[in-house]
């Protein structure tokens, strides 16, 4: 079985995963990426990435993901498209099970990423695709000249608000605090957008529906508990992300918020297992910090394989 044992298996084909694979392959380690959906991860749903250096006009996130995948193929990395169902990380070699196959590797680099947090309201799931959305660049066009509510106050929420303000008649931004957490670079554009209205210090407590479509939201003030009804055709949820760590629960140590406890070396509690990108506890989750993690992880994976 020794022949089938790879040096490195990377789980997850976002920027962190592909950068880890690139560095590992260039260090002559046999490397495979397992990705369940498509290259690029969350990055691939971004229309224009403008904060990844080297692209004068920015670059389409999907395109950048494809380029990252191709860049690793030059050095012999294969991408397996399959969902990892379970892992046995404390074994030697480590075992990775998909629905149909089991793979063996000396080291595993976890690059599982994160997914959008839901509001947690009862009818939210049923109304997904019927007015509830988690991706403004995907679904914005359906709300041309209509009224939408965005929930959140971070960079995603504000970027969504600016994007939707160009398409929609009216955009409400409901935020639970009385100021935005978003980057200052957005503020000027926000001030200039005439059709964005802020609803501060408030939470969406109910999604109203009519004929199985979103018809509005019930918003509750956190200051005086007053209730306000806002009629809208769509609601865009942008209240942050949840690390995708279900696969490794019980094996890898996580912090209280569910992020992998790993420092800048990306080493986890299990020797030979590394965590990179958005799933790792860190102060800034960006493409550049994910790729940096990937490079660092490959260095320690290389040391472990010696």
């Amino acid at each position: 079985m020794e022949n089938n044992c790879l040096d490195v298996i990377v789980i997850g084909g976002g920027p962190g995963g592909y950068c880890a694979a690139l560095y590992a392959a260039r260090a002559n380690l046999s490397t495979m990426v397992i990705e369940k959906f498509a290259p690029g991860g969350q990055m691939a749903t971004t229309e224009i990435v403008e904060n990844y250096p080297g692209f004068v006009d920015g670059i389409n996130g999907f395109e950048l993901g494809m380029q990252m995948k191709k860049g690793t193929e030059r050095f012999g990395v294969k991408t397996k498209f399959a969902e990892v169902k379970s892992v046995e990380l404390d074994k030697n070699p480590k075992l990775i099970h998909t629905a149909k196959e089991t793979f063996e590797a000396k080291t595993v680099i976890l690059a599982l990423g994160a997914f959008p947090r839901e509001l947690g309201l009862p009818n939210e799931k049923n109304l997904r695709g019927r007015g509830v959305s988690y991706c403004a660049t995907c679904d914005g066009m359906f709300y041309k000249n209509k009224t939408v509510v965005i929930v959140g106050g971070g960079n995603t929420a504000v970027a969504d608000a600016l994007f939707l303000a160009k398409i929609c008649k009216k955009v409400y931004l409901v935020h639970r605090r009385d100021e935005l957490r978003a980057s200052k670079t957005y503020m000027e554009s926000l001030k200039n957008a005439e059709n964005i209205e802020f609803i501060w210090s408030s939470e969406v407590v109910e999604i109203l529906e009519e004929d199985m479509m979103v018809s509005g939201v019930k918003v509750k003030s956190k200051k005086d508990d007053s209730i306000r009804m806002v009629s809208c055709d769509g609601i865009f949820v942008a209240i942050g992300n949840i690390p995708n760590t279900k696969l490794i629960e019980g094996q890898i140590t996580l912090d209280e918020a569910g992020y992998v406890l790993a420092d800048e070396t990306t080493q986890t509690n299990i020797p030979g297992v590394f965590a990179v990108g958005d799933m790792r506890q860190k102060p800034l989750r960006q493409i550049v910090t994910a790729v940096a993690d990937g490079a660092v992880a490959s260095k320690y994976a290389e040391e472990f394989c010696l």
């Binding site: 959906f37 229309e47 997904r128 019927r130 995907c138 066009m141 479509m213």
Partner: protein
């Protein structure tokens, strides 16, 4: 992959022999781009057991409205009836897609 419009929807989807999976998409939709190669691979894997076609929601607004597509990608499985047998909102992996089709009678 065949892109169906209002003009040939009845012929290519409703009157087709066997089940037809319709992928509602748009050129500006990023997850649709990610999903496209998965649909190609699924078609290859399943062969004649299913026909997979696409509908561009910007070019076929009436079809998108008729089937109340409000988020893309949206998948609808047609089996000769006017109403689809099943609908799935969002993209999924090839494995999930094949399983979903099996659950809905395409094996």
């Amino acid at each position: 992959m065949l892109v169906v419009t209002s003009e040939n929807f009845e012929q290519e989807v409703l009157k087709a022999q066997g089940p037809v999976l319709v992928d509602f998409f748009a050129d500006w939709c990023m997850p649709c781009k990610m999903f496209a190669p998965i649909l190609e691979d699924a078609q290859e894997q399943l062969g004649s057991r299913i026909k997979i076609v696409k509908i561009n929601i910007d070019e076929s607004i009436q079809l998108a409205q008729k089937y109340r597509v409000m988020s893309i990608p949206t998948l609808k499985l047609f089996t000769g009836e006017e109403e689809p047998r099943a609908t799935f909102v969002g993209a999924m992996s090839q494995e999930e897609l094949v399983d979903w089709l099996a659950e809905n009678g395409v094996e």
